[in-house]
Homo-oligomer: 234 residues x 2
């Protein structure tokens, strides 16, 4: 069974944030959906291990920020691959305190949704929080980012409109020397550096061996240093 | 509170189909999401009133068809706006019987997901079916259709890349005579005919008054006849 076929399902990309007492955190989720129109309510699925999940359980409140295509890689890396137990995720991030007292990320965001939990459902590794919407506010004009856009465009491995990611990669002409170069994986977030595509967004042209990248280069997703990468041996 | 801001949330577009005995049906849903990778499982939210929901309750089985951007308007109209209690939705539609005995729509579809229900959760008007994936199969190569694409492109009222639908409509230059023409709404599916945009996909140019459309024109969404439309009085 080829589980990569599940990538054909469409999702958005969101930051869900919450606070309890003087603790605050947020994390990236892709599962947010409307349940009812009257009263307006939504459901949000969050991994139980996330600090954000703990805070929502304590306070019963959260905010959903609908991320846009221009959201920075740093924002996604920080909220997607680090824990609010270890760092203050809101440091150097554009945010405000929403009406329900939760911190709300407003950079790289189009709309924020303030919510109050009314129920929750156990989904194995995740909790599905069912919540009443108490306020909606436009904070930016960007185009909402889909999970597909994030995977295909932001990682730079295939064009946005490619019917399938796999096929496109197979079609890239491979130079003999590039084919001998190793891929490297970030131990923190799982980002794969592929010498065939480089990291053009950050000045590393296609065809650059990982070993030749300067030492101050960092993982484009989570900001980890070069030393956090491991060679992928096939 | 401007509930249209919720349109910024991203969804896919799917047909969920099921059978029980010699009854079969299917309906359009936009809420399908993966829950766990191991075992592979997904959740699907369906309105309790839908015939499909009744059949899933009886058989504990269903198939999800991931629709593509080229799915026909007739397919969407039939599965989205009519009831399987009244018509055989699979008549003249490309489908096959999947391994779990459910009918699976394969036209305008990229991947079908065969599922077995393991649990269900009450979400007010909807039931959230939690299901184990028992098979995945590629049946077409189209680009998965997002709900956003369906609303913006298929209804032809704004370009796919428009940052906001509202702003675009406001920017369309309005001829004096067009501004006096009435909008009409389909009583079956809620589609709005707007003389400012016409129905170019079916040969009705922008600027055509509803009254001037030929009598054999049908609702582009649900196929209802012109007589099913009511004038919108502002």
């Amino acid at each position: 069974m080829d589980l990569t076929l599940l990538y054909k399902m469409s999702y958005g990309l969101y930051i869900v944030s919450s606070s309890s007492g003087d603790k605050k955190s947020g994390c990236i989720v892709n599962t947010v959906f409307q349940i009812t129109a009257e009263p307006p309510s939504i459901a949000v699925s969050i991994n139980k291990d996330n600090f954000t999940s703990e805070l929502i359980n304590e306070s019963g409140k959260f905010v959903v920020s609908i991320l846009t295509e221009d959201a920075s890689t740093n924002l996604i890396g920080k909220f997607g691959f680090k824990s609010g137990r270890d760092i203050d995720k809101f440091k150097d991030v554009g945010y405000k305190i929403a009406g329900n007292n939760c911190p709300a990320v407003i950079e790289g965001t189009t709309v924020i949704i303030e919510c109050e939990v009314v129920n929750q459902v156990d989904l194995f590794t995740h909790t599905l929080f069912l919540a009443k919407i108490i306020n909606l506010e436009t904070v930016g004009n960007g185009i909402p980012m889909t999970y597909d856009y994030y995977h295909k465009v932001r990682k730079g491995t295939a064009s946005k409109n490619a019917p399938t990611y796999q096929a496109k990669v197979a079609n890239i002409p491979i130079e003999k020397d590039v084919s001998k170069m190793s891929k490297y994986v970030c131990d923190i977030c799982g980002y794969e550096y592929d010498p065939k595509t480089g990291d053009t967004e950050h000045g590393i042209p296609a065809g650059t061996a990982f070993e030749d990248i300067s030492e101050d280069w960092v993982c484009p997703i989570c900001g980890a240093s070069k030393s956090s990468f491991s060679k992928i041996t096939v």
